[in-house]
Amino acid sequence: MWSWLNDQLLKMLWLKDFIQWFFRDVFGLVEDTLIYNSLTFFAYDVIKIFILLAILIFIASYIQSYFTPERTQRILGKLKGIWANVIGALLGTVTPFCSCSSIPIFIGFTKAGLPIGVTFSFLISSPLVDLASVLLLATIFGWKVALAYVVVGLVIAVIGGTLISLFHMEDQVASFVMERNTTQSIELEDNSFTLTTKERLKYAWQQVITIIRKVWLYILIGVGIGAFIHGFIPQSFIETLLGSKNPFSVLLATIVGIPMYADIFGTLPIAEALVLKGVSIGTVLAFMMAVTALSLPSIIMLHKVIKRKLLVTFISIVSIGIIVMGYVFNIFSYLLI
């Protein structure tokens, strides 16, 4: 019963059957040819991801309407020590914000007097462990992988933030951020409690439209690359490059992923294709984490508010965390799949 639900609702095998039937019987393509494999992968993935995305963003946004950054700031202000990092990392997973808000949030939190380590815990977990993307991960790789991904993402966020606190790098923040401006600061109303159910539903629906408008191109490109890998790149080539035979596979996947700017939704189809070609789960997750946690645009943005030493520390901690996670996952992958 559970596996039927999982196969039909989450993995959408009915859709896969339909698409295979469509290309085989309506289009008359021969099964197991390159073009057939690529086309079915592309059509199935695009339709599946858009259906799932709409539903998942809706659910995630409804939950997220209770957790605004303003509320997060107040909650974190009351906590001390490692607990502030833990709660910061947890709230990062449910607080909605687009990547371009990360700098205003960093400035706002710091101005409000939060330790920078806590802010970094929040900033690391927020893009890494996004609610909707974790649900999507579960539909593709199963719940064990999704759960492991969440736990590891949170651990990296907590350790990263704690280390940054230990290094006492407050002097590494641009001076205008540290100035507490009393005259200008305004008491912003926090509507996370007062919204009605109808307003939350409206918000969730608006989020679906906003996010899909923002990511649809990345998804098409991601699925396109995935379909290309699926149909045209020989398994032996990928296995040599990224498979368990190459001890540097995780390192390679992370280094390639860091400068890339893509949405996690666009990365998933590539990850899916790589796993189908025999790449280990740890290598694939390392690639996904590297793409979402760090990117060239976000590094450039961050450099406007923090100085080089802290920036390098931040990038190093996150990269090392991802690489270690990747190797650990590869060792224990038999437990996950």
């Binding site: 950054p69 371009c100 706002g108 305004i186 923002k214």
Partner: protein, 78 residues
Amino acid sequence: MEIKVLGTGCANCKRLLGNVNECIDRLKIQANVIYVTDLIEISKTGILRTPGLMINGKIVSYGKVNTIEEITELISRI
């Protein structure tokens, strides 16, 4: 009237700016629309989420791309 759109240059901020301009055209009112991308300026307002919308020096909305109807409503309240 002075309307400021606060944003770091992301797609959402640009869409809000477009909506504001469209709204002013429709209402046929005189307004000075300024697109603020300077981080220091934005951080001074205290908003945590962009895009922000400021009318005559007062934050009226933040963290969302207001529709043209919503902007009309916000302007009419001034």
